[in-house]
């Protein structure tokens, strides 16, 4: 089959969406464990952050893949949303979506858009200063600055509140997205039920863990 036809196919898009989602969830888990160390030990957090920030593999291979992955995921999200909406030009006068599906599954574009807004702020907050520090100003290496930078960001109650709100929506996104991504890549068998349970756990533990970390620093510093 011609490659162009494959790229145009609905299933190929869906699988690509799922693979990027799965990749983002892996990244999220990894990010969570690193942030969690900040609760227990400023030193551990500093040294891991320093490693991640200065390891060439992380900086020049994994980081670009991640950025491309995020951009791909949300652009594809909007493309699919547009296509799916145009598949029903006249909507129902009465529709009872709650009778057959979860809110989270029907509103991935809403939860996703809030997460996108968060990501933009997050990039502006952490990533841009980090890049400026390292590659524009070429400031001296400082292996202990990370913890303070983190704690500082959570001083403002408004910022901490908005941060928590976005993770609430990320939780909803993953509540559906986790198991959905396995179904999309064709994984549906006797393990799917347990996997779904694990997905619900993931969708709660990781986002609420991030919220916990934010509140911890907000109230402790």
């Amino acid at each position: 089959m011609a490659k162009s036809a494959l790229l145009k196919s609905s299933i190929a898009k869906k699988v690509a969406m799922a693979l990027s989602g799965l990749f983002l969830m892996l990244f999220l888990a990894q990010h969570f464990f690193i942030n969690m160390t900040s609760v227990f030990s400023a030193d551990t957090f500093n040294s891991i952050s320093h490693f991640m920030g200065n390891n060439p593999l992380v900086q020049f291979v994994i980081q670009p893949i991640l950025i491309v992955g995020v951009i791909f995921h949300f652009i594809m999200g909007f493309v699919l949303e547009y296509k799916n909406n145009s598949a029903r030009p006249i909507s129902y006068a009465k529709n009872n979506g709650a009778a057959n599906s979860s809110w989270a599954s029907r509103n991935m574009i809403i939860s996703g858009s809030v997460v996108l807004a968060f990501l933009l702020v997050h990039f502006y907050d952490f990533w841009v200063p980090e890049m400026v520090y390292k590659y524009v100003d070429v400031s001296p290496l400082n292996e202990t600055r990370y913890f303070h930078e983190l704690a500082e960001k959570f001083e403002s109650p408004i910022r901490t509140g908005l941060y928590s709100l976005s993770f609430l929506l990320l939780s909803l996104h993953l509540w559906h997205g986790f198991s959905s991504s396995f179904q999309s890549v064709g994984f549906n068998n006797k393990y799917s039920k347990s996997l779904k349970g694990f997905g619900y756990g993931f969708a709660i533990v990781i986002p609420f863990g991030f919220i916990f970390i934010a509140l911890f620093h907000h109230f402790n510093h």
Binding site: A5, S10, L80, K83, S86, P89, A93, S105, H176, Q183
Partner: protein
């Protein structure tokens, strides 16, 4: 005095003997090109044991007496096997009951005084022909693009029953084959996706030895036709599975995705 106790829970049974008075809000549209709108029809004397379509028959009888245009709706077997009846009733395909078609839906599922919205199945790929009747020809074209097995009928055809098939596979193929092509999955899906229907049709062959021969072409062609007809994509909300009158499982969609991926990787 000991209260009279009964272990019989009356709430579990639809004992309704009283005739019902209802308000119907029905989509009326003269033809494919005309603009449609919801029109309200009060109706009285509906018995709980009537089927939903019988209730519409009564409405149409009344409209004929009044000299008005009857409400067009699809139906044929009226016993849940042909897939012709449709209707989006109070926000759900085939109404609020589970695992039934509209012809199998009974008025006892509603209460006296209820307002019932009755709309056509909505999708760009299912254009309205008149009132509640939609053109589901897109499904036929998808079937024609690959929903078959090519069998040599030159006179030495092998009886299908001589080919041993694991019971597990035969059962799953049969489950998939119970899809009646009604389109409730499309109507229920927020994206108007036809994935449940197409996956049932792909699966019923892919699981059997006779179907394996053309499996790759079948899935590629049927998915290409599905996309060309303008159905939406799948978000795995699962609405289709809940509303499907035949209980077709989402497992079929996963199987179709696997079939599609392996077929496209083979090139």
């Amino acid at each position: 005095m000991a209260p009279c106790q009964s272990t019989f829970d009356f709430r579990l049974y639809d004992f309704q003997t009283k005739n019902m008075k209802l308000t119907l809000k029905i989509w009326r549209q003269k033809n494919a090109a005309a603009e449609g709108k919801i029109v309200e029809y009060p109706i009285d004397g509906i018995e709980p044991d009537m089927s939903f379509l019988e209730m519409l028959d009564i409405l149409n009888d009344e409209l004929i007496v009044k000299g008005e245009d009857t409400v067009a709706f699809d139906h044929d077997c009226r016993e849940g096997i042909c897939g012709m009846c449709s209707l989006y009733i109070n926000g759900e395909a085939h109404g609020p009951d589970r695992l039934v078609t509209t012809c199998q839906l009974h008025m006892r599922k509603f209460k006296d005084g209820d307002t019932i919205f009755i709309e056509p199945f909505r999708a760009k790929a299912f254009p309205v022909i008149k009132d509640l009747v939609v053109d589901r020809g897109a499904f036929d074209r998808i079937q024609q693009s690959g929903g078959f097995v090519s069998v040599n009928t030159s006179g030495n055809t092998i009886d299908a029953n001589t080919i041993p098939i694991p019971k597990h596979d035969a059962d799953r193929a049969f489950d998939a084959a119970t899809c009646i092509g009604c389109g409730a999955c499309v109507a229920s899906c927020k994206n108007s996706s036809a994935m449940l229907f197409v996956s049932a049709k792909v699966s019923q062959f892919a699981l059997l030895p006779q179907g394996k021969v053309e499996a790759a072409d079948r899935v590629m062609n049927m998915v290409a036709q599905m996309d060309a007809e303008g159905f939406g994509n799948c978000t795995n909300t699962g609405a289709c599975e809940v509303e499907c009158p035949k209980g077709i499982s989402l497992e079929n969609i996963a199987r179709m995705n696997r079939e599609y991926l392996s077929a496209s990787l083979k090139g």
